[in-house]
């Protein structure tokens, strides 16, 4: 062929399709919160599920009793959250088959969830995961995760849409951050102590009603799962629906 004049069209590289990717994720809002006490732990979440500015459902629970007195939530992209919890429940049942019905302690549950999350390191579950229960000594335990499985045990943790609103409040009210003994002129920190269940429930309700005021994706209802040595029980409170 004779010499051709270079043009934009002919310099296009062959066989490279124009990329237009399907986005496999969405954000379904909502927020969750876990607090550990001396002999109990709570895990709470609002019951609103959203997509963009639409409220999909005003009552779609996202905190679950997964068995063996462990409660779990995975907040963020709802489909991934549900899938993660279902997989954990399933594995728990196999654990029971393989170990003659032995109870899974929360430390082992926590490590296992890390593997579930990290197993999808390169196509992650888009969720912030929390579990709560009692440890081997009967003390309250909360474990929190990032989407790819990094985790730690904590006294309290907020996750989801309003985490950044609630977490500083918890730092102050649960771990007494920036609290000093009166009259010590800011020298002596307020001493740490375990909160009672009633105090914790008050904190949780305040945290959620405040988050409802300031975050559009939070509201409608608050469901709190409480783990004590007697087992798991659920409490429900209305939140504002606007």
């Amino acid at each position: 062929m004779n010499a051709t004049v270079a043009s934009e069209y002919s310099s296009e590289i062959h066989s490279v399709p124009i990329e237009h990717r399907f986005n496999p994720y969405s954000d379904n809002g909502g927020t969750v919160l876990g607090i550990a006490g001396e002999d109990f732990a709570v895990l709470a979440g609002d019951t609103r599920q959203v997509e963009g500015y639409s409220i999909q459902s005003r009552y779609q629970p996202k905190v679950f009793n997964v068995g063996d007195d462990i409660v779990m939530t995975a907040n963020g992209f709802a489909a991934d959250g549900a899938a993660l919890i279902d997989r954990f429940k399933n594995q728990l049942q196999w654990y029971k088959f393989d170990h003659g019905g032995k109870k899974l302690n929360i430390k082992s549950a926590a490590r296992y969830i890390q593997h579930l999350l990290y197993g999808k390191r390169f196509f992650p579950y888009y969720v912030s995961t929390l579990i709560a229960g009692l440890d081997e000594e009967g003390k309250g335990a909360v474990y929190s995760y990032d989407p790819v499985g990094s985790y730690e045990r904590e006294q309290c943790r907020a996750g989801g849409a309003a985490a950044s609103l609630i977490m500083p409040f918890l730092d102050n009210q649960v771990n007494f951050k920036n609290q000093y003994e009166p009259g010590s002129d800011g020298k002596k920190k307020r001493e740490l102590r375990y909160l009672t269940l009633d105090e914790v429930l008050e904190l949780v309700r305040d945290a959620f009603s405040s988050a409802t005021e300031r975050h559009i994706q939070v509201g409608d209802g608050l469901e709190i799962l409480i783990v004590t040595k007697e087992g798991v029980r659920t409490e429900y409170f209305d939140l504002k629906r606007d």
């Binding site: 279902d86 399933n90 049942q93 196999w94 088959f97």
Partner: protein
């Protein structure tokens, strides 16, 4: 040792239309200790006799849980049963996972029947050497199925598989009406154990070590009673040994006579239909074995 020329593989028919390898597999079931299943309208009970290879060894597990609403008892090759129960567990779990519903008993048993049938029709494979009694409670009520390595499954009100199971079947046939009308789990279990004890060989009796009991039904998740937990049920029997043995020792010992008082009406009314009189005691052994020595066997 060949029986004939047509039993080298499971896929070749004999000229008379039989599959010998499959029939041998059915024989393998009879080598195993007995398992008995029976159902009333709302409950299914499985009872089984456990064996230990030697006195110092543990007993072979005979009843396996599949899901909260289903479980199996086995007779024959235990490893084959483990493979099948594992498959059933996966089926049960994926039914809950994919369809949000418990696996139905009929579907469960048909799914393993399909697996077993494949083995009767593929060269180089061996039929399962185990028979199963599958008990389940689902939306259509309580069900008891017998599974065979040939791939056939049938539903029963009462069934028995394994060594000397004919004796248990005889008992179940004679007491079918009272079994079907049982409205308590207790009477069902007592009938099951009565049937099971008829399969015992001469010098053996039911003890909490060699007996497994399970129940599933309306408002009752599948529950297995093993070891010490079985004693409560054995205590409700008038005797823990075979009817034939008792006839032989008739009048020798009256030790257990008072235990008949503990049995409920349903049982006392039906024991008469069995082959034996009710209160003849077993051999010379005391009926309740010592609980502290786990190694002791049941002679």
């Amino acid at each position: 040792m060949f029986r004939n020329n047509y039993d080298n593989d499971s896929v070749t028919y004999s000229p008379t239309g039989r599959l010998f390898q499959v029939e041998y597999a059915l024989e393998a079931i009879k080598q195993g200790s007995a398992a008995v299943g029976l159902s009333s309208k709302n409950h299914v009970v499985l009872v089984a006799l456990k064996r230990n290879a030697e006195e110092l060894g543990s007993y072979q597990k005979k009843i396996i849980k599949v899901d909260t609403h289903m479980g199996i008892a086995l007779a024959g090759l235990a490893p084959d049963a483990r493979v099948l129960s594992n498959y059933l567990r996966k089926q049960a779990m994926s039914s809950r996972m994919i369809f949000n519903r418990p696996l139905s008993t009929s579907k469960a048993v048909l799914s393993i029947a399909d697996k077993a049938q494949e083995n009767t029709q593929s060269y180089g494979s061996r039929p399962y050497g185990v028979g199963l009694l599958v008990s389940g409670y689902d939306e259509t009520g309580a069900h008891l199925y017998e599974f065979q390595p040939s791939g056939s499954v049938l539903e029963y009100y009462g069934a028995a598989i394994g060594a000397r199971s004919q004796a248990a079947r005889t008992y179940l046939e004679r007491n079918l009406d009272t079994i079907r009308e049982s409205d308590t789990v207790e009477s069902l279990i007592v009938h099951g154990l009565n049937a099971l004890r008829d399969t015992l060989s001469q010098d053996v009796e039911l003890t909490f070590k060699n007996t497994s009991v399970s129940v599933v039904g309306k408002d009752i998740d599948f529950t297995i009673y093993d070891d010490e937990d079985v004693q409560q049920w054995l205590d409700k029997l008038d005797s823990v040994s075979n009817a034939r043995n008792r006839e032989e020792d008739d009048g020798a010992d009256e030790e257990v006579a008072e235990e008949t008082a503990a049995t409920d009406e349903a049982v006392t009314s039906t024991t008469g239909t069995g082959a034996a009189s009710t209160d003849a005691a077993s051999g010379n052994d005391a009926p309740a074995p010592s609980t502290d020595d786990r190694m002791e066997t049941d002679e």
